[in-house]
Amino acid sequence: MSTEAHSQYEAVIGLEIHAQLLTETKMFCTCANAFGSGDNANTCPTCLGMPGALPVLNKKAVEFSVRTGLALNCQIEETSVFARKNYFYPDLPKGYQISQYDQPLCKEGFVEFFLGEEKKRVRIERAHMEEDAGKSQHQDQDTLVNYNRSSVPLLEIVSGPDMRSAKEAAEYARAVRSILQYIGVCDGNLEEGSMRCDCNVSVRKWGAEKLGTKVELKNINSFRFIEKAIEYEIERQIDAIESGEKIIQETRLYDSDKNRTFSMRTKEEAQDYRYFPEPDLLPVRVSPMWIEDIKSHLPELPLQRFERFVREYGLPEYDSQILTQSKDMAGYFEVVAKVSKNPKASSNWIMVELLRCLNEEKKEIVDSPVSSQNMAELIASIDSGKISGKIAKTVFEEMYKTSEAPEKIIKEKGLAQVSDSGSIEKWIDQIIESNPGQVSQYRSGKDKLFGFFVGQVMKVSKGQANPELVNELLLKKLKE
């Protein structure tokens, strides 16, 4: 299909993000909300759906949900209602999921984030509380079910159909994760499923008002795959329309190995969930006072921190964006900047050197072998002239390998910058003596050779000579 045909279409994307809340206990019982325990170790009659067992709402889950709603600029409903979503599945012990339906806790919010230079705003239609299901494991002919995850609290965050590109959708998802992490309600791990993302995708001709038929994409477990799956799906839909096919409303799964989506079920096969108010739970009432209290304890959010970094540290917007995307990264930066008293250099060192190393090993900032304190000391050593910027890179490599303090490495490896003119003059004399040809060429006017002499002196000093002094003394000596 020609790109010309494709350029006549616009994509419309909305996301449903499920965030597992980091409460200590489950949503409707007192079982631990923890992983790594033995199969079905964290279960009780309630989360196993035993006869007569009843749900009791975990207040902390409500608090975390309100906190999230506020961080997403939502209106918090003083009364919201749990409903039963009825369907049969082995990992769903009661035969229904307790969720919220027509009266959710949070409504009408928005998230702002950067797409490149451009600030975007995506509306949040609603965010509602629900319980997670267990997990099925298929083994040969058998299926085993582990209910440790059953009844773990989830918040489902539903965006408006506001995104127009795969990239924008991925950035929105990153922004939401970042907010969830900042406010400490979800660890946002897509690979492990503590954050799950379903994407609704449709296409329409530019200028058309009516939305195209939407397709729901499921089973996407990384931000990169969100982008790739949506990209693939947009192409698929445009190709289908261009070749005269009709898009059918369906759920498709993304296969990351093949980078394609395939149909799971169509709307005709979709279930009638027979939602009705959950009679075992009273309506959830949150008082304005409680909402105010939660609001007053909201921490600084990613976008606010971004703006502060630009204002307070004078960082470029790009740096500020990268550094504030994760709360841990932003915190790391702030320690380095404050201790080293050089925010710009701190930002450069973190973004260029540290992130490169961490990314190579797929490590997070919290796993960094270089502590923020050590990183700051390294930068301070450059600024005080103790080591050169070039040596600093060697020191950093060593710090990354050993987690040692820069001071110790500089001392043990003898890497401190040499700034006494006597030693430097000795090295210069040595170079002049061993390169008579170049010296006479220089003296007869070939100025360009100056750089060669500087390089030779730095080499013989193993990079430790103070480059400014080398320049100064070389000029003088070569004139003699």
Partner: protein, 485 residues
């Protein structure tokens, strides 16, 4: 001393004082119950550990510790309640071999008051029925006439109390399942205010209507059991925080200044003349003790059956989804998961349960939800408003429990609609969440017991317990007993 002749209150008193032993009481009741059960089928199973529980009570007495309000009293438990390590079937094949690892809060509270769980009583499958004929464990016979039903769904509990196969029983009432069988079996039964008694560990039929309550031989006994099981339960969010009164101690016979409502709509139905006569006599008794009678109106009440048979099956269709053969209960041999679901449920559930699951599934389905479920919920609210308004002019209401006394086994089971109409006077109480009770008030010429229904505003159980005791005092002169005595 004939231990079987003591009332529950007397038994508890004597056990506490060490005059009689809980073990002897339990032995006497176990022996009698096991022998009578062959004919009546009131119990599905007996508690083999009952004597151990009784010994513990005696031990406490010996150690000068108070075993509680129900010290050494053998109590029958409707098999809808979970009892730890004791089969709990809900009267269904689907739970035939289910042994719960937990007890219902009600059971725990009884045990905490020194009661001895004698066994688990028969019931209509999942409490769905009005005659005890839908039980997977066979029909229960009415002790007054074994060719008749004991009522339902708590027929086993009612028959057990009537035949002295226990000093009291726990039953549940979703649309009349305590009051109707109590009425048919000539005993006292009270369905407390919704939220008064914990539903934790009681197999759910219709969560917004289900409420457990006691059955007893006397009003005082019944009040005592109710006290023991009532009160907030952190495991059931729908229980009330309200303080539990000492109903038994506060019972009083003086009805001066009390206004008794006579709900007009309840008397427009065709009521058996003998039943009508007994109702009329009951009004007279209350009047003679100082009460005045006032006509009240509940315009929405005639729709109660329609509302009930939409709300209850809707909730039931969801509540019974968990019986899928995956984790516990009946599991059919099958090749895949769909077949496992379909066969396990097809084999495990009886006809009436299936009928209600299908009714409820239909009422909740997209396209029908608004016309059926939502409309029923709205009508339910109107009914509640009717009651609130009527109670502004009266303290409680007196009405029939059913239009007739106990009917013949097999008489109505083939006609579900006729069976559903049994509940015409009892369902409004559940829909409005009110406390209601049935108290024996007389006999038909054939010697079948007939009770009257008393209904009070929310949390005003004391009002109807007082009135019930007055009726009890003035009608119980004959001291008739069922034939099996």
């Amino acid at each position: 001393m004939d231990l079987l002749k003591l009332s529950l209150s007397e038994t508890a008193e004597k056990v506490r004082k060490g005059e009689i032993k809980a073990v002897d009481v339990t032995k006497a009741y176990l022996e009698r119950s096991k022998s009578l059960n062959k004919e009546l089928n009131a119990y599905i199973s007996f508690n083999e550990k009952a004597l151990i529980a009784a010994e513990k009570v005696d031990q406490m007495v010996a150690n000068k510790k108070d075993p509680g309000l129900l010290a050494g009293c053998p109590i029958a438990i409707k098999d809808l309640l979970c009892t730890k390590d004791l089969a709990s079937t809900a009267g269904s094949k689907v739970l035939k071999n289910f042994i719960p690892p937990y007890s219902a809060t009600v059971v725990e509270r009884l045990e905490a008051q020194g009661a001895v769980i004698l066994g688990k009583t028969n019931l209509d499958e999942f409490a769905m029925g009005s005659s005890n004929e839908t039980s997977a464990f066979g029909s229960v016979k009415n002790p007054w006439d074994v060719t008749r039903v004991p009522g339902g769904s708590s027929g086993g509990s009612a028959a057990a109390v009537a035949a002295k196969m226990g000093l009291g029983a726990i039953a549940t009432d979703t649309g009349g399942s305590i009051r109707q069988p109590a009425n048919f079996c000539g005993i006292v039964g009270i369905k407390p205010t919704y939220g008064r008694v914990s539903r934790y560990g009681i197999v759910s039929y219709a969560s917004s209507l289900d409420q457990a309550g006691p059955m007893g031989v006397t009003v005082e006994d019944t009040a005592l059991i109710l006290e023991s099981i009532s009160g907030h339960d952190p495991r059931d969010s729908t229980t009330s925080q309200k303080k539990v009164p000492q109903w038994a101690k506060n019972l009083k016979g003086d009805l001066r200044g009390v206004v008794v409502g006579k709900p007009k709509e309840y008397f427009e139905k065709e009521i058996d003349s003998e039943v009508q006569k007994i109702i009329d006599e009951s009004f007279e008794i209350l009047k003679s003790q100082g009460a005045t009678i006032k006509d009240v109106t509940l315009p929405t009440a005639p729709y109660a059956i329609s509302i009930y048979y939409l709300v209850a099956p809707s909730e039931a269709s969801s509540n019974l989804a968990r019986y899928d053969g995956v984790r516990y209960g009946h599991r059919a041999e099958s090749k895949n998961i769909e077949e496992l679901y379909m066969k396990s449920r097809a084999e495990g559930f009886g006809r009436e349960v299936k009928r209600r699951i299908m009714l409820g599934t239909f009422a909740l389905s997209s396209g029908y939800y608004d016309a059926y479920y939502i409309k029923a919920c709205k009508a339910r609210r109107l009914l509640l408003q009717d009651f609130m308004k009527a109670f502004q002019g009266c303290d409680f209401m007196l009405s029939p429990v059913t239009t007739t006394a106990a009917f013949k086994i097999g008489g109505r089971i083939k006609d579900p609609l006729a069976m559903y109409l049994n509940d015409v006077f009892t369902t409004p109480t559940n829909l409005a969440g009110l406390p209601g009770m049935s108290v024996p008030a007389g006999f038909t010429k054939e010697g079948l017991p007939v009770g009257v229904q008393l209904t009070a505003p929310h949390f005003e159980e004391q009002r109807i317990l007082n009135a019930a005791q007055v009726i009890e005092k003035h009608t119980n002169k004959e001291k008739r007993k069922p034939n099996v005595y």
